[in-house]
Structure formats: structure tokens, C-alpha cells
């Protein structure tokens, strides 16, 4: 896990930051001119529905680091491409991205479509959606998969509309109907109580975003390589309408929850912030990170970045320990793909036991310290699973 992303006060130099930008304060005087120049996506023609071919995976990167979900998608994309007997391609947008290109092939791509342009250095919806739309119109992918990160959701909505095609958000299963060449896009609907399989008719690409950690990351194949197809963005920097002034990255000392191998999560059943510390102690003892249900976050026991579930993160650790969590469907959708689930709850009928590998009926406040002591002592000296073995 990389810990290199510390607070970086300024965004990397971009096409914009060379201008000095004065701070904006409210200025109540209304201008009488509404004239503004911009690049309307509307001016990009919708595709003429030429025969579409191939599966594309959008490779999301930030400052040279690829979002893990992109490789997870490359894994499932490979399976779909083999079924449809078509090529699998990556799409990479950014500046100075050459070093990332070989990774795409090592994770399974046959081809990589790439645009390297200073205007793509910081992500902006404006330039990235134009770039992706242009590539789609030039090469007609049949299927386009994007990670359901904030950036992926920001981008996919714009691109799907510009291409006048369908988009299914937050898929948790993907398959293909080989005869009709349809992407079967399955997503939890209505609070996760049901799964809906959605199809896109007569429009291409068939677009879907997929939640991180739903699919596992494929093994890297160092010997694989392929061809990079470079394109030009061809936009006029003076006509862009938005600029990233600054990017403030979270202190990342312990990594992201959705990359953790071990998560110890607490819920409302812990009763107090003090008791929630028992969760933190166990996590510390076994090299895990803390997770939380929504009520635990709302009570201020844990930060939002640790919330697991429908409105938080989807996680897929090797071990998920849930203490004082009832197992509402909105929580389950975020953790039920964990390899091993331990539930500690005083109510033997709590729904969490339905997904638990191991269930313990009892008081979390007394059990957590006992488990911390036992596991801490038995694991003493042993190197902990810091790397996910897939």
C-alpha cells in the first residue's frame, strides 16, 4: 500500500495554473452580458451507430496512480471479451502517462487507446468527457466499462448523454448474452432488496459503471504487451471553462478502507464512542482498519470515509468483523462479498448472522477486549496479511 499521497498543497502545474488566479469574492453586481465561450458537448455529433466492436475499460488515474477498480474491470472485461470473441482495450487519458501504458497490457488489455495532453493533467469533466467521446466516436466500442468512483460517475454521465446511449450505474455483476451481444448489467435496486438486470437496446457503446471491489483484481502478467493507439485531443486551452485551482489530498497514512485486508467494524450496538474504541483496539492488534455502520458515523464515532454500505464504501476484505451491527440490507450490500465475516451481536436473530461465516451471540463490549487479547497474543511476531492474495 502506498503512503506517498500526503497533503499536497498545490495541484500539479496545468495549462491553467500558469495564469495567476485572483481569489473570488462575491460580487453582487450583475453583468449585462451573458456572452461566454465554451466547448459545448452538444456540438459533438452523436454516433451514427456504425458497427461497434470491442470492450473498453476506462483506466482512471490520478497523478500517475491508477485506481484499483480499473484493473478489476480489466479482469472482468477479459472474461466478457473472450465470451464475445472480441478485443479488450484500455482507455487512458492524462499527461505524461507513458509509464502507465504497459500496465494496461499486463492486466489483460489487447490494445490501449491513449491521449497525452497537458489539458488532461488534472481531471476535469470538461476535457475528459470530450476526450472520451472523441475516442468512442472514432473507434466505436461495443461496451464501455468505468469504475463507479466519484470521477467515474462524473465522467460517465456526461459521456453517455453526449453519445445518446444508455448507462447503468453501480453494477455488481456483469455478463453477456453472446447471441444478441448484449451486456447484462446487474445492479442492486431499491435499497439492495432486489437485483435488477438492465440491458441497453440499439445504442452503443453499452455503458456501465461498476463499484470498486466487486470484482477481484486479475493477476499481473509481466510478459503480456500490446499496441498503443495514440490520439490528439485537439482542444484550444484558451476556450476551456473550468480549471482545477488546487487539489487537497487526504492524509493517507493508513490507506483506503476499500483496499484493506482486514476490517473491524462497529455499529450502534456499541452504544458509545468509548466502546467504539474497542473496535479500534482490535483493528490495531490484528493489523486491520476500522469500518462503521451509518449510525456509528452519524454519532461521530468514526469518520464518513470509514462508512460501509450503500451510501458508503463497498469493501471486500479477507476478514470483516462486525460488532454491534444489525445487518440491514444497506450495510450488507457493502460487505457481503468479504471472504470471512464474523458477527458479534447480542440478538441471535439479527440479520447479520445470515451472512456471517462465524457468529457469536453476546455482548460486544466484553467480547471485543477478550478477542483483542487472544488474537493479539497468538499473532504476536507473525507478519500480518498486508497484501491481498488473489
Amino acid at each position: 500500500m502506498t503512503a506517498k499521497k500526503k497533503k499536497s498543497p498545490k495541484a500539479p502545474p496545468s495549462a491553467f495554473t500558469e495564469k495567476t488566479v485572483p481569489p473570488i469574492t462575491d460580487n453582487p453586481e450583475r453583468s449585462d452580458t451573458k456572452a461566454h465561450e465554451q466547448i459545448p458537448l452538444e456540438s459533438i455529433e452523436a454516433p451514427k451507430n456504425l458497427p461497434a466492436h470491442g470492450i473498453w475499460v476506462y483506466i482512471e488515474q490520478l497523478q500517475g496512480e491508477v485506481a484499483p477498480v480499473s484493473w478489476e474491470l480489466m479482469g472482468v472485461g477479459r472474461q466478457l471479451a473472450d465470451k464475445l470473441n472480441c478485443p479488450l482495450s484500455g482507455v487512458l487519458l492524462g499527461h505524461d502517462i507513458q509509464p502507465l501504458t504497459e500496465l494496461a497490457f499486463q492486466y489483460g488489455a489487447d490494445t490501449l487507446y491513449a491521449i497525452d495532453d497537458p489539458m488532461l493533467k488534472p481531471y476535469t469533466n470538461e476535457c475528459h468527457s470530450i476526450a472520451l467521446v472523441q475516442l468512442c466516436q472514432a473507434h466505436h466500442p461495443e461496451i464501455l466499462l468505468i469504475g463507479a468512483t466519484t470521477t467515474g460517475r462524473d465522467l460517465s454521465g456526461s459521456v453517455a448523454t453526449a453519445l445518446r446511449t444508455g448507462l447503468t450505474a453501480d453494477c455488481t455483476q456483469l455478463d453477456v448474452d453472446v447471441d444478441n451481444r448484449k451486456l447484462l448489467q446487474t445492479r442492486p435496486a431499491f435499497g439492495g432488496n432486489i437485483l435488477a438486470t438492465i440491458l441497453c437496446r440499439d445504442r452503443w457503446p453499452q455503458m456501465a459503471t461498476v463499484r470498486p471491489r466487486v470484482f477481484s483484481k486479475p493477476e499481473k502478467q509481466p510478459e503480456r504487451s500490446g499496441a498503443v493507439v495514440w490520439s490528439d485531443l485537439g482542444l484550444d486551452p484558451s476556450k476551456t471553462v473550468m480549471e482545477v485551482v488546487e487539489r487537497i489530498l487526504d492524509e493517507r497514512t493508513e490507506g483506503y478502507l476499500d483496499e484493506a485486508d482486514i476490517i473491524v467494524a462497529g455499529g450502534r450496538g456499541l452504544g458509545s464512542k468509548d466502546n467504539f474504541k474497542l473496535v479500534e483496539k482490535l483493528a490495531q492488534a490484528i493489523g486491520g482498519m476500522i469500518g462503521a455502520s451509518r449510525p456509528a458515523v452519524e454519532s461521530g464515532w468514526a469518520p464518513y470515509s470509514h462508512q460501509v454500505g450503500q451510501t458508503g464504501l463497498t469493501v471486500r476484505p479477507k476478514l470483516y468483523i462486525a460488532a454491534g451491527i444489525s445487518g440491514a440490507i444497506q450495510h450488507l450490500v457493502g460487505m457481503q462479498n468479504s471472504d470471512v465475516i464474523v458477527a458479534i451481536n447480542k440478538d441471535p436473530d439479527a440479520p447479520i448472522f445470515r451472512v456471517a461465516t462465524y457468529g457469536i451471540v453476546g455482548d460486544a463490549a466484553t467480547l471485543l477486549p477478550a478477542i483483542t487479547q487472544e488474537l493479539g497474543a497468538r499473532m504476536h511476531g507473525a507478519p500480518l496479511g498486508t497484501e491481498r492474495q488473489l
Binding site: T25, P122, G166, T186, I194, V241, T357, Y358
Partner: protein, 272 residues
């Protein structure tokens, strides 16, 4: 500053039933609310109007009952409300919905210029987060999603600055006006509606636009204009039945020992 806010009326519960014939949502009998994120979008629009002047217009597409949400928005302090309703709109997916809303916003702009359009980051019944981006794309307006704060607005120079949430932190973005913004809940606290506004809301003449007013291409509306369709509904697969290790009658230390026996193989990586 003239601002439009797109609201969605959503069922107040996630326990929604599906019509097995059409595979669409059955909304009947379920109490409705304004999508919670949209309430924050409205609040932000009202705050800006109170500071800089102008008008706030709320729009919603939905059945006639969606007027309730518009009245609620008027009670919060919105200046004007427009309901977009037509049988031809029913069953629209996000692509068709953004077409209808963008069409209505275009019509509104024939009447008065707009500087900002606000939406919630997503609706809690669909969770797609696609309609805001779709409207922006159709209007050719810049899009700023997941906005946590508006730092400042300069209408004279037609520029504003926001902070938005990204996966690994946040970023400060400066953008030209007009623009479309989607907001997260952290952006503000909702104020309560004062009594006079409640009275005004009850009597407010909500404007109603059908497709006869909008003149949109019928082939792009409703089910017909929606490329995505639900093919199958299923229930999530259950995990295999687990093992109950110990009940409340076993001493905590003993329970911990039994659990540790099970877990150690999963969490310790063998020495390499």
C-alpha cells in the same frame, strides 16, 4: 443571480415494490418526500439568492402528485415552481429524463436567463447520479459534481469557485457561469420554513408544463426514448449458512479462543 433547482419526488422508504408486469416501480401508497440531496441543492440556491438577489425556480418532472414537493420547496422560500408532467414522460430513464429537464430549462431561459442550475448529487430511489450530468451535457454547460462548498460567485465576470469531493480528498475548481452544480449533504444545513412561507406555499399557483408546451421529440421520451430497460428482477444470492461459535453462556475468553482458532489461518500470511 437566477437559479433553477431540479427536484425529484421520491418514495420515503427503500421498501419499494416492483410491478412484475412492467418491471417498473410501484409508487402508489408510499409517502413521498423531496429527494434529500435536492433539499440541500435548494437550500444552497436560496442562500445564494438571499446574498446576491435574483430568483429561484424549482422544477420537477413527475406525476401531478409531485406538486406536493414543489409546494414544499415554495415553503422553504423558492420563488417559482414548475411541474413537468405528461403521460409521454412516464417510464423515462436517465437519458430521456435529462432530455425533458433540459428542454424545460431551455424554455425557462427563453423567459429569464439562468446563471446556475442546482441538482442533488443523486436520487435515493435510483442512485444513478446521471441526470445532473445529463442535463449539463445537453445544455452544453460546464458540470461540477459532488460540490461541498461554494467559495464565491462573481456574476460581473461570470465566474465562480467551488470545492468538490474527489475519491482521495477534495479539489478547488474555478468555473465560468452559467454552470450546473450537483451537491452533497455536507454543503449546508437546512433551515426551517417560516410560517408565512407555509401559507404562501399552500396557495401558490404551480405552473404546469406538458409536452404540448415543451414541443419535445416524442421518440426521445418515456419508455420509447429510453435505451436502458430492466430485463430481469431477482433477489440477491445468500451466502452459505455460517457457524455459530458460541452463545452468550460461554465465557468471553473461551469464545475468543475458539474464534482465534478459526481466524488465525485467514489473517496470518505464512513467513516467506
Amino acid at each position: 443571480m437566477n437559479i433553477a433547482v431540479c427536484l425529484k419526488q421520491v418514495p420515503d422508504t427503500s421498501e419499494v415494490r416492483i410491478n412484475p408486469k412492467t418491471n417498473t416501480l410501484m409508487r402508489e401508497g408510499i409517502p413521498s418526500i423531496i429527494n434529500p440531496y435536492d433539499v440541500h441543492a435548494l437550500e444552497e440556491a436560496l442562500t445564494i439568492r438571499d446574498r446576491l438577489g435574483g430568483r429561484v425556480t424549482v422544477l420537477t418532472m413527475g406525476p401531478p402528485q409531485a406538486t406536493d414537493s414543489l409546494r414544499k420547496a415554495i415553503s422553504y422560500g423558492a420563488d417559482h415552481a414548475i411541474l413537468l408532467t405528461d403521460r409521454a414522460f412516464a417510464g423515462s430513464d436517465t437519458l430521456a429524463t435529462s432530455y425533458i429537464l433540459a428542454g424545460a430549462l431551455g424554455r425557462l431561459m427563453d423567459r429569464e436567463p439562468l446563471d446556475l442550475i442546482f441538482c442533488g448529487k443523486q436520487a435515493i430511489d435510483g442512485d444513478t447520479a446521471q441526470v445532473g450530468p445529463g442535463i449539463a451535457s445537453r445544455l452544453g454547460w460546464p458540470l461540477l459534481t459532488y460540490v461541498t462548498k461554494i467559495d464565491g460567485i462573481d456574476p460581473t465576470n461570470q465566474v465562480f469557485q467551488v470545492q468538490r469531493k474527489i475519491e482521495v480528498g477534495r479539489e478547488v475548481v474555478r468555473c465560468r457561469l452559467p454552470a450546473l452544480v450537483t451537491v452533497v449533504k455536507e454543503i449546508n444545513e437546512i433551515r426551517y420554513a417560516p410560517l408565512p412561507d407555509l401559507i404562501r406555499a399552500a396557495h401558490y399557483p404551480v405552473e404546469v408544463w406538458t409536452n404540448a408546451d415543451l414541443g419535445l421529440d416524442a421518440s426521445q421520451l418515456g419508455l420509447k426514448g429510453s435505451p436502458t430497460w430492466v430485463n430481469k428482477i431477482s433477489t440477491p444470492p445468500m451466502r452459505e449458512k455460517g457457524e455459530v461459535l458460541a452463545g452468550s453462556d460461554v465465557a468471553p475468553a473461551e469464545t475468543a479462543r475458539i474464534l482465534a482458532d478459526k481466524l488465525i489461518p485467514h489473517i496470518v500470511v505464512p513467513n516467506r
